[in-house]
């Protein structure tokens, strides 16, 4: 259960490939290094009369053209190959790792120097340089060549690690360690190295493979150990010369080489994969879309004039095969009305909003209940069907306006395209309409903004453009998910003014999802307070915020330092003990009871909804018998 106890090993061992690879590499490394002690034949021993044999009980992998035991030769040759590859790894990391640490630490000119130097080494033609070195030192010695190869490959290590180290250095805990007066070596070893060890392991495995590969290649060219000393590459060369006489001879060295490379790559893969997230969320699949029941394509004009622009009835949203994320949520909003959906993180308010617009993450589905848009249930519509109402009937803006805006295109491009698509305007008319929309969202210089790219806009400006984008289809319902959370408070007030004006001028309905009670008080007519996937209290804003009927609502108000604003600030805020329970621990009884100061035995019974406020509701077993103020609920 506790992730702390779940060490890396079990996860690692769950992958049979990884276990096999580990066993194989251990066999090759240990086996070949100790080979002279245990192999059945001396690698140079020629057995006259036993040439070119296929495997048999005496010669496990057969013999070569001089009757030498192939198995013994492979194992002995392995030692040289392993040592050579290890040398490459050590040299590459010996140069690349410290260089990356130094570059990241000093930055500026030091980093520029190392990086230019790395680029120069990268630009060198590796194989040509190695062959030139062979010319200088002779072709028998493999080790100097592998040192040189390690040097040539070190920029790759440097580059990969530099990026990682720089990103870790920006973490606040590194700053905290610096402020603790730790030496830079200690910071690098204790705080940065643990963060990059996975990458280091991946690189070690990959370079090890490269080292084996290059040695095989070189000895195939006749460089390295000379007859009678064996090497994998030379054995492959021999075999290829005799391929018509004894095709088998190619198999053992080739197979050993391939398996060793495979094993090292598999390990690199496992290291790289790291702690795969067990989020239980399935990747996106087109099948899911196709599998849904098809409703008739709506004819919007003919839709019955429903009293409610949007109505959710007993909506249940959940992760497929797992827990619920939204439980039995019912909401309604009329034209020209603003509904605030408020709650802390993990309460299901964003999931509720996303289910309306049909943008639930992969693996999350509407389980039951209905979503009535103008009286038509759109809960089980597919993408194609939803596209007929998205933009034109309802639109969505998110907390991060930059998500809605494509960084590759100008604002003009992004506004004009939907105007042409949804409203069927000509290009010139669409451009004129885009300018008008930007003016409507309060942009002072719309011509200039139209030509800008998203990154050239400030946060407040970008949110205005995102709102303009949402308005391109003249939607009757706007769903805004934390539209002001990322903004400064003065910009937030401006955006709220804008939304309020749009609702009044266009008669739109607005659903605003927020964690900020002040935003609700400012703009909303109705409010729904969510806790642990449920709407626990709903009603007119003034009723709910001034006379909360649910202990959670009153607790939230008491926890808000803005509540006493303009009056006297309390010495202590009324905090709620504990935290929102995770979705997989939700029960059918009151989910707030464990944190509630008023909870009694009755709160363990199945939760019931009761009518409260004007047309509102509350989910509290003790409703009617409690007197709530903003200070009397905490379990302090």
């Amino acid at each position: 259960m506790s992730p702390a106890k779940k060490s890396k090993l079990p996860h690692f061992l769950k992958r049979p490939g990884a276990v096999l690879s580990l066993v194989w590499l251990a066999f090759i490394v240990i086996g070949s290094l100790t080979a002279p002690l245990w192999v059945p034949f001396d690698f140079a021993q020629q057995n006259v009369g036993f040439e070119l044999l296929t495997p048999n009980s005496q010669f496990l992998l057969g013999t070569d053209e001089l009757g030498r035991d192939i198995f013994s030769r492979i194992m002995v040759a392995g030692a040289g190959t392993i040592v050579g590859a290890t040398i490459t790894v050590l040299v590459a990391f010996g140069i690349g790792l410290p260089a990356a640490f130094v570059s990241a630490q000093y930055g500026g000119k030091v980093e520029a120097f190392f990086s230019r130097f790395a680029e120069v080494i990268f630009a060198l033609p590796g194989l040509v340089m190695i062959l030139a070195l062979v010319g200088a030192i002779g072709q028998e010695k493999m080790e100097p060549l592998m040192v040189f190869f390690g040097f040539l490959i070190s920029p790759a290590v440097y580059r990969v690690l530099l990026g990682q180290i720089i990103s870790i250095r920006q973490r606040l805990y590194v700053d905290a360690a610096r402020l603790n007066g730790l030496s830079s070596i200690r910071i690098n070893l204790r705080h940065i190295l643990p963060g990059i060890w996975r990458t280091v392991l991946v690189q070690v495995a990959l370079i090890f493979v490269a080292g084996i590969g290059i040695q095989a290649g070189l000895s195939f060219l006749g460089i390295g150990p000379q007859e009678p000393n064996p090497s994998w590459g030379a054995m492959i060369l021999q075999a290829s010369n005799l391929i018509y006489f004894s095709p088998w001879m190619m198999v053992p060295p080739g197979l050993i080489l391939v398996l060793t490379v495979f094993a090292a790559n598999e390990l690199a893969d496992v290291f790289g994969e790291g702690e795969a997230q067990n989020s239980g969320v399935k990747p996106f699949s087109f099948k899911d879309l196709k599998g849904r029941r098809r409703a008739n394509l709506p004819v919007v004009e003919a839709a019955p004039k429903a009293a409610n622009l949007l109505e959710l009835k007993h909506l249940v949203v959940g992760v497929e095969g797992k827990h619920e994320l939204v439980t039995d949520v019912s909401l309604a909003i009329r034209q020209g009305e603003v509904l605030g959906v408020v709650g802390e993180s993990g309460c299901g308010k964003t999931m509720t909003a996303l289910s309306v617009i049909g943008l639930l993450p992969p693996g999350v589905k509407v389980r039951s209940g209905s979503i009535l848009l103008n009286g038509i249930d759109i809960a089980d519509w597919n993408e194609q069907e939803l596209n007929t109402v998205r933009g034109s009937e309802m639109a969505y803006i998110s907390q991060e306006p930059m998500v809605a805006l494509d960084p590759m295109f100008t604002v003009s491009h992004q506004l004009v395209y939907p105007l042409k698509r949804i409203r069927g305007l000509s290009k010139a008319a669409a451009k004129a309409e885009a300018l008008e929309l930007l003016r409507q969202v309060g942009i002072v210089n719309p011509e200039r903004v139209l030509k800008s790219y998203p990154h050239q806009l400030s946060g407040g400006m970008a949110q205005r453009v995102a709102i303009a984008l949402a308005l391109t289809g003249n939607p009757r319902l706007l769903i805004a998910d934390e539209p002001t959370t990322a903004l400064d408070v003065t910009i937030q007030a401006e955006i709220l003014d804008l939304l309020r004006a749009l609702v009044q001028q266009r008669g739109m309905g607005l659903v605003i999802v927020t964690h900020n009670l002040g935003v609700v008080a400012d703009i909303a007519d109705q409010v729904a307070v969510m806790y642990a996937g449920q709407v626990i209290e709903a009603g007119p804003v003034a009723d709910v915020l001034l006379n909360p009927a649910h202990p959670y609502t009153s607790a939230l108000l008491g926890a808000d330092p803005h509540f006493g604003a303009d009056g006297v600030m309390p010495d202590r805020l009324a905090s709620i003990p504990g935290a929102v329970p995770p979705a997989w621990e939700w029960t059918s009884s009151c989910r707030f009871a464990a944190r509630c100061n008023f909870a009694t035995e009755i709160c363990k019974q199945p939760l019931q909804e009761k009518a409260a406020h004007q047309g509102g509701a509350v989910k509290c077993m003790r409703f009617g018998e409690l007197t709530l103020t903003t200070t009397n609920h905490g379990k302090n």
Partner: protein, 319 residues
């Protein structure tokens, strides 16, 4: 008032980013004093320079001009190494409780790090760590677990414990509750308020929210574009702001009480209407001139000096 040495004395502090033509002055001419055990709030929107000031005090940012004195010692240009001696009593709690704890170390290891560096024995340091964890409302066993086992609010308690363990005199709180949910935020704010009473420690509380600052602070400095707009007793500044910027800020913050919010919104809209006749900013005068509802011609050309108006310092020609 008293003759004790101030805990922190910042005088005419300026910090510049970059050099030459691309140089950008992040903060200019900032002065304030924190007395021992006092809480000073530093409030401003993004780009106001509030975090830059915090970093300069911690020695993470180079100071261009001005001075920073900690308990009477000038630490303005001390390296982090030298600060081990001169500013060991200054600690920090960062905004992001997720990236501020090393995921590879147990909470105990993180906490005892500064002590072990100073040569304290591991067991003694760990015992102290457990004590401090209790002080911030966690169980002593928390020391043996990893940061990933804790929620955002609990992590922020751990970050506070890490600051407290060396018995600091001053803790720089850089937006310590902005990333937290309302109910958790209240828990952490209460904890900080308790600690400021029970421990002999002063806070520099950096935040963007005036009401949050008001809850914890004695005095407040309101910043805009790297300059001090208003500086004084926090209750006075929040309930009767003198500077048009502070007025804008208080009117903009929405209150959950619908009655209070109605008044605030009207005040906000009043400020917006009168803003229409604004004076253009030519970069030589008051930084707030372009957004100011009461700006006059001279506001664009003369930087207003910080002057005392009914017990509060205000930098405005017309406050």
């Amino acid at each position: 008032m008293t003759n004790t040495t101030p805990l922190l004395e910042v005088t005419d502090l300026s910090v510049q980013y970059g050099k030459g033509k691309t140089a950008f002055t992040a903060v200019s001419d900032i002065s304030f004093v924190i007395q021992p055990g006092q809480v000073l709030g530093l409030v401003g929107e993004s780009g106001s320079g509030k975090s830059t000031i915090g970093k300069a005090i911690l020695g993470l940012e180079k100071v261009k001009t001005g001075s920073i004195k900690f308990l009477g010692t000038d630490i303005t240009h001390d390296s982090l190494k030298r600060r081990k001696k001169t500013a060991a009593g200054i600690r920090v709690v960062f905004q992001d409780p997720y990236s501020s704890l090393n995921p590879a170390l147990t909470v105990g290891e993180t906490l005892i790090e500064p002590l072990v560096v100073d040569g304290v024995k591991r067991e003694d340091a760990l015992a102290l760590a457990r004590e401090v964890l209790v002080k911030v409302g966690l169980s002593p066993e928390a020391a043996d677990r990893y940061p990933r086992n804790f929620s955002g609010g609990q992590r922020q308690r751990i970050a506070i414990a890490r600051a407290l363990i060396v018995r600091p005199k001053l803790i720089v709180l850089d937006e310590p509750v902005s990333a937290l949910d309302l109910s958790t935020q209240a828990q952490v704010l209460n904890l900080l308020a308790d600690l400021s009473q029970s421990e002999d420690v002063g806070f520099l509380f950096i935040a963007h929210d005036l009401d949050v600052v008001r809850f914890l602070s004695d005095d407040v400095v309101v910043l805009y574009k790297g300059r001090v707009m208003e500086h004084g007793d926090v209750n006075r500044v929040v309930t009767a702001p003198k500077h048009p910027y502070t007025q804008t800020l208080t009117a903009a913050a929405p209150a959950p009480n619908p009655h209070v919010q109605k008044v605030r919104r009207e005040a906000w809209q009043q400020l917006q209407v009168s803003k229409k006749q604004h004076v253009a900013d030519i970069g030589q005068g008051c930084p707030f001139v372009a957004r100011c509802p009461i700006a006059q011609e001279n506001c664009a050309t003369e930087i207003p000096a910080l002057r005392e108006v009914t017990g509060v310092k205000v930098s405005c020609h017309y406050a």
